[in-house]
């Protein structure tokens, strides 16, 4: 909270002393935006991580989405923030996927390319964790891994519909606004996603 107080001070410091009502409203807007971003940041990161399968890219995408929402749509009513934020997030995810696709095509033509150069993993991070874990946690981790793989294998629109509806909890209208499609399309994509996951995972008892 200390950092937030500092940011709030920076924002408020720009307002003349005689404009107390502006200062109050700016403080309220900053607090509301901070609370909103805090409420979505982890889910947004997981959505980006599942789509991109890369932690650093997912963090960059979430950060971009936060910045864009704040700078472009921060003055819009707070009720509109969630669909706008997820629309920006999905656009950023698609940008990264396209960039990767182009880079992959270009790199495939280069004779001197070295696949080992990409994503050199930190050996410490890659080392196996031998500390004892409770069986329930191990089961949950394994179940999450299986579920994540199944979600990743879904077509893009089904993945979006499933994660926005099921994980983030957007209603049909909000999901449609985020995906820039009709509510009927959202229902169709979501239904097909659930069917595909169920056929792949079975009952999925965790």
């Amino acid at each position: 909270m200390a950092a937030f107080a500092s940011l709030e001070y920076q924002t408020v410091a720009l307002i003349p002393p005689g404009k107390a009502h502006l200062r109050d409203s700016t403080q309220d807007a900053a607090r509301a935006l901070d609370a909103f971003l805090a409420s979505v940041e982890r889910k947004a990161f997981r959505i980006a991580q599942i789509a991109l399968r890369h932690e650093a890219d997912a963090l960059d995408v979430v950060q971009d989405a936060m910045m864009q929402l704040s700078s472009r749509y921060g003055s819009r009513p707070a009720a509109e923030w969630k669909p706008l934020f997820y629309r920006i997030l999905e656009n950023r995810i698609r940008d990264v996927q396209r960039r990767r696709s182009v880079r992959g095509r270009v790199m495939s033509y280069l004779p001197w390319r070295n696949d080992d150069d990409e994503d050199i993993a930190d050996p410490i991070e890659q080392a196996a964790d031998h500390s004892p874990q409770p069986p329930a946690q191990l089961e949950a981790d394994e179940a999450m891994k299986v579920l994540e793989q199944a979600i990743t294998a879904l077509p893009e629109r089904q993945r979006q519909a499933f994660l926005l509806r099921n994980f983030e909890g957007l209603d049909v209208a909000e999901t449609a606004a985020s995906m820039k499609c009709s509510q009927g399309s959202v229902k169709t994509h979501y239904f097909r996603a659930v069917q595909a996951l169920r056929s792949k995972l079975g009952d999925f008892r965790t």
Binding site: L7, Q10, K43, F45, L59, R165, F167
Partner: protein, 135 residues
């Protein structure tokens, strides 16, 4: 049925997957949570920073415009129109002379008949005496 199976709780499968996804979001590593927090603070501060940097952002453009104005003032003297400036108008006068087909040729001395001019001068001087040159 309101078209919202999650709120209806109509599917165990959907509730189980949702619980698992939420758990994975709650158990993010500390480094990731820290990065997300930093990103959030930066985003909340962005509008204020943008407002304060607006003047700084326009500073280079303003400086360039001032430099251009100074150059114009130096090269175009105040109070004189460009039509009165002999330097700026010289080009137009030269072009007029060169393109005027009726003008006396300035070059090509070989075409000037100096003998004729000397004879004419002598005729005018001595009132019809024989020319002294070329006769």
């Amino acid at each position: 049925m309101n078209g919202d199976p999650i709120e209806d709780g109509s599917s165990d499968f959907e509730r189980r997957t949702r619980a698992l996804l939420l758990q994975s979001a709650d158990e993010l590593p500390g480094a990731v949570r820290s990065r997300l927090t930093q990103a959030r603070y930066a985003a909340v501060a962005a509008p204020a920073a943008r407002g304060s940097s607006l003047a700084l952002r326009w500073l280079p453009a303003g400086a360039a415009a001032a430099a251009m104005m100074a150059l114009l003032v130096m090269y175009v003297p105040l109070g004189k129109s460009t039509m009165e400036n002999p330097v700026t108008n010289a080009g137009f006068e030269d072009i007029e002379m060169l393109t005027d087909t009726d003008a006396v040729p300035l070059s090509g001395d070989q075409e000037v008949d100096y003998d004729f001019y000397e004879w004419a001068a002598a005729e005018a001087g001595d009132g019809g005496a024989a020319p002294s040159v070329g006769s």
